[in-house]
Symmetry: C3
């Protein structure tokens, strides 16, 4: 396993906690003070020991411009502190109070068609607004000054889910900031013209002032402008984060973080560049029932979060005890599922399990979002599981600080997500995240633990690296991957990878330009398939969405098409490159075919499968440190399973050997003898 | 049967007519005067005796600002009067002339994204615009002055389909009016903050001036603001209606109404508050072929209109002879269907049968809307049916003034429609109107006549009250329903009822908070199902969309789930509460299962089914007064049916006993012997 | 066969070329000058002899306001000229440079909701903007001055795909221009009021200044305003074209054209009025894989383009060698398909075969659009086919100048497309272009060559004329068609034809008003069907979408409905009118039923089928002149076919008699003996 984003320097403050942090967002301002007393008693009952407060505090803390009132927040902090509950203190800036947008409507977000987005929800501010920043930082100053040295404060929580709604803004403040960012990146307007290919469609710029954000056009937009706007927008919010961070650093030595949203339906921030700026990586994750397989996506997101943390433990800052409110159909969780989801995060590196939110709201947009204390109160199945999960985490406390073992990696790139899913491309049915999840699923079902790393990461420690649909790669990234293979690595590259450079400029001479020589192939043309159409392979499998006019140029054909537009043409190839082996898949394999191929590749690469092969319902993951080893066995299925393991099982407290029996829906965690 | 909205005081003018009014909108301005003469002759031939004119008269009456021309309208009124055709006189304000929006573009509607909606269609005015009101009321003044005492005028028709398009407006005039309305409602800003739960997401208001309409946001909107904006918008148009009414009252003693749009695809006006302000309730209704069962929805809408009329006779102000033009696929009516639809309205309390419009337009948006005189002229199947229907209504004239008998009621609430179908809720697949229509359909197929009444109505006279998905109930409404049951009533409450109070604030302690004790249950959690998924019940039925983690707390389980997320959990319960019986259904029963359950409940409540059980194709309804009784038998099916009845059949003029035979597609109306 | 739009007067310059022009758009500004040299060598290798340049040249030619730089363009023109490659010189105005929209944002397009459409794509200019015109014409002046007499210039290419994106603009400049256009058309406001039927919905205008473009409304828009706005918008861009033309004429005697977009997904320009203004008709056509049958649509578009050219040869100005980039799923072409598509255009009258574009772009929105030189270079299947096609065209060179033989015609009307597909109509499922293509497909599958002509065309030479869904016909058009029949013609009219006059005013007295007497029928009412519903005919066929309450009034019933809403009613009728025969189809026949009926009709009209009947996979077309005759046989199928033909086959160079064998996927072209 390998770190990819540099973790903050060791001089940076660290978040330390005794055992697993167990907690939640806590919004006492929604309740009367009498309830607060009950809250704290219940928190102690459940073992909750870290609560995030002041996340949406602004309108309460600063009810009128420049007039601050910390009375209630003081009380809550003292109450928590007196009860030994640590505070994850929000800077309170996530949503401005109504008076600010009334006084300064210029802070409001503007959509790509030039229309305004109004207050009434949350996050109604433009990231580039100097007026917003001035007021927000003034609040951070007050909060940091007041609580920067308070012993209850365990962690700073900057804003909330930055960029969840407002990442892309199209107002004039943003356009000005975008121009400054472009000047920094390109230096000269000629350099920008070259990068964006403005000789196409008469788009050549003569001066910086002519450039704006990619607002809505009659035809498709300049793709270079679009991808740079994504880069800028991620950087712009990161710059905002850093401006809050700087204030906090002046007043406090407590670790600082902000809650990422690593999930398959949000894509606007490049967390590879964000991760080095937080003292500990924290993530919010919710099961997404719009997906075919929400549970596997959870594992993927947890592995990607670990990748952002450079392999170190990370914090699950938000998840739900049951249903959320913002999906079209908000499914609840079955009994045990919350525990299973939580321990899946732990298995994959989380050292904190937190939730949104403590007590289900009576009002507001999220009143039907589940919570630790449901509307029905504590005489509920849900509350009993909350208490039980707290106890289970206590029994697992010794695991904190250990790290996850993986010898396979999937390369993941937000830049590809932005560029490859753009407006004018071969097939709108090919979506980056789908193809990444398809690759992950194949490995996951084989029982293989996977790191999700940046294309810039040091790949040297991996036996197998998979690059699914890695459309955009810089020259350095291409070299990193090709060098890894030449040095003896095994790699699988899938279709529509290595197509463009970092300016979204096609690499000429035959696809995939960045990997053509390494793969020993040359692709002349893409032949996407209409959705619903399948092609058969001579290996027995099936595929869909995409085929390619591919010629061997050194590689051997492992499978070819039987039908479709290219019968007889290779669909899967293998090439020896230097000391390594480079596989290519030119189509979107159906899941079973994908798993079959991945099994062959993984075996060839001598990748260890910790778990048995399954339909994804069994997960086996190991966390270790120098001295110890813990095996997590998660059973999502409806039947009891048996997995080889010897040692002390920590959830039930019983010794197991030579196998552990895991009931349907349960998780078992074994302190392994072998590591002793 | 019970009245719910107070009918206007007996001092208010009444609409009186000899027998059924038979009529239509008449737009002579679209035709040359020679056509008018033919029109009137044909009206006499068909028996048309009430025509609505001047509905869209403004641009003709006031061709230039302040310059009025009544010549053509005078001529038309005199022509109608001379021929004994009564006039339902429009105030003419429904759509302003182009000169007004050119001079005053500030009257134009503004959408939620701040963009303007332009002239070129109809109703392009903002209900809160003082400039629009000033000009519109000036026109009303002129019209009322001129025709207020004209003997031809039988009824005033204020504007037209108020709020059909423009009910929700987001401009600054509206924001100011909304703030005034909120000040009236809440008195203090603290009270508003409490009602809207503004402690959530940092939305706390410090001053009234900070509040605006719920314009488009990046995330979901404050639900309290949204539901209050609906309340305000309904009240604001009602206030406008009352301003026209006040002018008319100063000049005329003729009854005043406006045409409601009680139908399942329009929901912006709370007609429970409107009904008391009209001298007679009038409704427009069109078959909606986007629904699975347009005919049952027609019966529902007619019953709801009767509810608005407090049980008294009402006027069907518009329907179509055949196809409309505004649905995606505008189906025509089969021969006999127009008659059947019309007599269904009569059976359910209508004392007037009117249409849009007299003569099919040659031009404009509605030229493909059917009419009494089609484009093809009078040598048509359609015209012959128009003439025939006029004659049939003449034969039924003695029925006018009688009222409908029902001993079951469904509670209906526009406030629930607004709040329960909001942005952030457990399942977007659960729609209020669907669930109301499902309950109605079950009773309808059992042959039970139903009143549709307000949750505030006096329920004392009903044997059975059904509250389908009654999400929002005020404390008073909850008490009204619970007291009805305690006093011996039978009630069926269905899932997602009684969840919030009138501020959309969740009632805590277990769902459904408003009815938990009465129902003898306690629901811990909602478990919506993905669309398409079904669950089986141990009673043999099936259900979909929704399940609940329900515990009995006094009630007995009548049916439980066999599969799905909650096998073994009760799905249908019955509780004895006081002297009454309270049923609960925690899921969306499929139609057959719903009908089976409803049969059991109705029998237990000793509800009378007038008709035989059917698939909805047979409707039997009775209208009575102190001395007389009329039985309507409507056969939508393709086979002749036989229903017990004795008396004089009025459509055919023959005596029937002991049964009446009703041919396929026909309606029979029996003056019953038994009532004599 | 007949000409319909008058071709430009013989005094106008003509485009003359030796043999077929073979070429492409060429954008050297996207590449370094070293590449240019390779380009020209490859062009010569492929036989490319006409290239369109300077299409998007503005930002390069005028990098700053009023500062021109022709260096690069000079070099490219000289290079091409030196290599014998002729130039199709763009005026360069298709997309303005960023500095122009920065200086003058008032030139930007405005959408129907009043929001702006921004630069960043292409064609971001309002056709009515005087500022845009001033700057664009200044550029044209410079370009025409400089190159007007250059011997390399074979053709002027005005702008590019005019109106592709910006045809409908809603800003104030456009509103002012629209008012001027309306004053020209109507003279008086009363006349406009009559034409638009403004007595409906109180829309009567008192002054021209009150009129605007049909911006977005709350309800449906005035259909007269909408159809006139379409007419105006087409005329407005034509006026713009003519302003460029006038500049060119002052400086050059070279022929002028602009590339039309005759295709089924673009409909904003009425090319019947455009065609007389170009010196040679040129069209862009791309296979549209969103259609069920893209290949038949190609033939239709080619036939319609020939119709626009008055039967004379025309230029295929753009097509693709393979996939495009702007459809959701951009399918590639199979080997041979590019050749087959190209020769289909030739068979149907094209004397030039050109492509977008020479070399696949590395950057910009269209980088995944195929080209003559693909990203993979010249060692590709695609490049080899490009070279082969050039050689094939050389072998066919003698065919240029000949014209196509057809004795059937389909009437086609952009005005009907605009009016008939409007907002408020009987069925949104009935789309004009679908019904036209259905009629075309029926004839196409019978092997019949068809001219596509205007309803104003001289129809005298045709044996059969088909008017599918010809909703809007002027009185003159109606007379033209009725007179053609009376004089002995055979015609088929299909449902929803002849419904309105040119003001979209319904023709009263029974549908279809314009053709009722000729057809000997009278339709009382339209009865659309819900999508998915089918009706059976007593002739054995099936139909969908539409039925009509139709009465015979002289005609005989050929087929009637067996089921559906109108069992027993005639669905297909035939009438003798004067010396001719008039058929009517009142429903949308399924393809097989349509072909069966069309076979009967065509045989009755003694229409010659050149080809065998097929599923559309065989096309046989003849081009002739006074002395010669060429038979094209195109085989889209997967089996070799044999078609009677005698003469010299030009593609393979072999003599054939009495049949020609055409391999799967191939095209054969026979210089026929019989014509000698």
């Amino acid at each position: 396993m390998n770190a990819q984003p540099a973790a903050p320097s060791s001089a940076a403050p660290a978040f330390v906690h005794d055992g697993f942090a167990y907690g939640c967002d806590y919004n006492p301002e929604q309740w009367s003070p009498e309830v607060w007393t009950e809250d704290v008693a219940l928190m102690r009952q459940a073992g909750v020991d870290l609560v995030a407060i002041n996340i949406f505090g602004w309108s309460q803390l600063e009810p009128r411009p420049g007039e601050y009132d910390f009375t209630a927040l003081d009380t809550v902090i003292e109450l928590l502190h007196a009860n030994g509950i640590r505070v994850n203190l929000g800077t309170g800036t996530s949503s401005p109070p109504p008076w600010l947008s009334t006084l300064h409507p210029e802070i409001l977000p503007v959509a790509e068609d030039g229309t305004t987005r109004y207050p009434g929800g949350r996050q109604a501010w433009c990231p580039s607004s100097p007026v917003f920043r001035e007021h927000a930082l003034a609040l951070v100053e007050k909060v940091a000054e007041r609580y920067g040295n308070h012993p209850a404060i365990a962690l700073w929580h900057v804003s909330n889910e930055l960029g969840c709604h407002n990442a892309l803004c199209y107002d004039e403040d943003t356009a000005a900031a975008f121009r400054r960012w472009l000047q920094d990146r390109y230096g000269t307007i000629d350099s920008l013209n070259a990068a964006w290919g403005t000789s196409f469609w008469s788009q050549r710029y003569g001066a910086w002032a002519e450039i704006s954000t990619p607002k809505v056009t009659l035809s498709s937009r300049n793709p270079g402008q679009v991808v740079d706007f994504h880069r800028f927008s991620s950087d712009e919010l990161l710059d905002y984060y850093k401006s809050e961070l700087a204030v906090l650093r002046r007043h406090s030595t407590v670790a600082v973080t902000t809650n990422f949203m690593v999930t398959s339906h949000i894509r606007n921030l490049n967390y590879w560049s964000w991760a080095p700026e937080v003292d500990v990586v924290a993530n919010d994750h919710y099961l997404d029932h719009r997906l075919d397989d929400p549970t596997t996506e959870l594992s993927f997101a947890a592995d990607l979060t670990r990748g952002l943390a450079g392999g170190k433990p990370w914090l699950l800052m938000e998840q739900s005890t049951g249903a959320v409110n913002w999906q079209p159909y908000n499914l609840a969780k079955a009994p045990g599922q919350m525990t299973r989801n939580s321990l899946t995060h732990v298995a994959r590196g989380a050292d904190a399990i937190c939730f949104f939110q403590w007590r289900a709201s009576q009002q507001g947009s999220e009143k039907f979002h589940s919570a630790l204390v449901p509307h029905a109160g504590t005489d509920t199945v849900l509350w009993r599981e909350v208490v039980s999960l707290g106890a289970t985490l206590d029994r697992l406390a010794e695991i904190t600080g250990t790290t996850v073992v993986a010898d396979a990696a999937i390369l993941f790139s937000w830049e590809t997500w932005w560029a490859g899913d753009g407006e004018s491309r071969p097939s709108q049915a090919v979506r980056y995240i789908d193809q990444v999840l398809a690759a992950y699923t194949a490995l996951h079902e084989l029982g293989v633990t996977v790191d999700i790393v940046s294309p810039d990461a040091d790949l040297g420690g991996y036996r197998l690296v998979v690059a699914p649909n890695l459309y955009l790669v810089s020259d350095a990234q291409a070299a990193n991957i090709n060098d890894y293979i030449a040095a003896g690595g095994h790699a699988l590259v899938t279709f529509f990878s290595g197509i463009v450079d970092e300016d979204d400029r096609v690499r000429l001479g035959g696809y995939p330009g960045a990997f053509r020589d390494t793969l020993g192939i040359r692709v002349e043309e893409f032949l996407p398939l209409l959705p619903g159409r399948q092609v058969a392979l001579d290996s027995g499998g099936t595929a869909s969405l995409w085929t390619e006019r591919l010629r061997l140029a050194g590689a051997e054909a492992i499978a070819g098409y039987v039908d479709g537009p290219l019968p007889g043409t290779p669909a899967v190839t293998r090439n020896t490159h230097g000391d390594g082996t480079a596989w290519y898949v030119a189509t979107a394999l159906e899941p079973r075919s994908y798993r079959d191929l991945m099994r062959t590749i993984a075996q060839g690469a001598r990748v260890t499968a910790l778990g048995p092969e399954s339909d994804g319902s069994i997960e086996v993951v190991r966390r270790v440190d120098a001295d110890r080893s813990y095996l997590f066995v998660i059973n999502h299925g409806e039947e009891e399973i048996t997995v080889p393991a010897s040692g002390q099982e920590l959830v039930t407290g019983s010794a197991v050997s030579p196998v552990v029996r895991v009931p349907a829906g349960a998780v078992r965690v074994i302190r392994e003898d072998s590591a002793a």
